[in-house]
């Protein structure tokens, strides 16, 4: 019994050491501590009425950062799906539609949803700087009765 516990601890320790070492040598290492999340800056967000005006203007790309199934269940009309958790798979298709100066509004769902911010970070790394967030986007949009679509097409 005691021997099993000892060995279990050794396994856990070995995994921990391996994990720390592998991350330390990986060119794609992540920092040891995750920084606390600050609320999105005001200049990084759009209000619902701003979003509506941009949507009516027609020149703005709306990007849905949620999982494909959530997108299919309902999304802002015309919004393109770019699930941030599968970013590398979907990005090439979306990139073909975007220019570096494209005006982009990214959204997910929920007051604390972080997906659209993660999407914003990834797109900024790739040179898109005209991107802002609609916080709690899906909920505020559809509860305001603004146009939505279902299915996997925009």
């Amino acid at each position: 019994m005691w021997r099993t516990v000892q060995r279990a601890l050794i396994i856990a320790l070995a995994g921990t050491v391996l994990g720390l070492a592998a991350n330390a040598v990986s060119p794609r290492r992540i920092p040891y501590l995750m920084l606390p999340q600050a609320p999105p800056k005001a200049q990084d967000t759009v209000t619902l009425s701003e979003a509506r005006d941009l949507w009516s203007g027609g020149a703005t790309f709306f990007l849905d950062a949620r999982a494909p199934a959530d997108y299919a269940a309902g999304h802002i009309a015309g919004a393109v799906s770019l699930p941030v958790e599968e970013f590398d798979d979907h990005y090439p298709q979306v990139a073909a539609m975007l220019t570096p100066n494209a005006i982009i509004v990214a959204y997910c769902d929920g007051q604390e949803c972080d997906l659209s911010r993660q999407l914003m970070d990834k797109l900024r790394e790739r040179g898109y700087h005209n991107i802002r967030l609609l916080v709690n986007g899906w909920t505020v949009w559809h509860t305001a009765g603004l146009p939505t679509h279902t299915g996997d097409q925009p």
């Binding site: 396994i11 995994g15 599968e86």
Partner: protein, 157 residues
């Protein structure tokens, strides 16, 4: 019973090795349907790439948020070591104990997410599955716990 235990060991061990690999190397498996043809593209990072998994862990919103990255760095490697040992038949019982403890941790994480109504990806197998956190994932993990607890009880080192 010995044969059953052997098969269970391979299944559970294989599952944990698979879960670890897809997390550490950020594997994506995408089936694309074109008419009757299904092409499956598999994409992975050549080096450990834990950013995506760390974000999935953070989505569970279990404080303290600062240690999220440490969890993301170490958890898949513990899964990997324990899974390999379980398959290889070395320190079988200790590996089954480690895996059982991990499953309990997963149950608590998923349970609190369900209780708080979080709409998040399970992340159990990185991004290769679209499974959401919910009662289904909870039930599946309970079944898994049954199997791993059985192994931890019956196997000998």
């Amino acid at each position: 019973v010995k044969t059953v235990n052997l098969i269970l060991r391979w299944i559970v061990g294989g599952m944990f090795v698979f879960a670890a690999v897809v997390k550490i190397w950020n594997v994506n498996i995408n089936p694309a349907h074109e008419g009757a043809n299904v092409t499956v593209t598999i994409r992975a990072s050549a080096v450990p790439d834990l950013k995506t998994f760390a974000d999935q862990v953070a989505n569970y919103r279990v404080p303290p948020r600062e240690v999220t990255n440490l969890v993301a760095m170490t958890l898949p490697w513990i899964e990997l070591v324990a899974g390999l040992l379980l398959i290889g038949g070395i320190w079988k019982r200790a590996s089954a104990v480690v895996i059982s403890v991990l499953v309990v941790v997963f149950l608590i994480a998923i349970g609190q997410a369900v209780a708080r109504g979080l709409n998040i990806s399970c992340g159990c197998f990185g991004t290769v599955e679209g499974r959401k956190v919910g009662v289904v994932a909870l039930a599946q993990d309970l079944v898994l716990l049954g199997i791993t607890a059985w192994l931890a009880w019956r196997l000998e080192d």
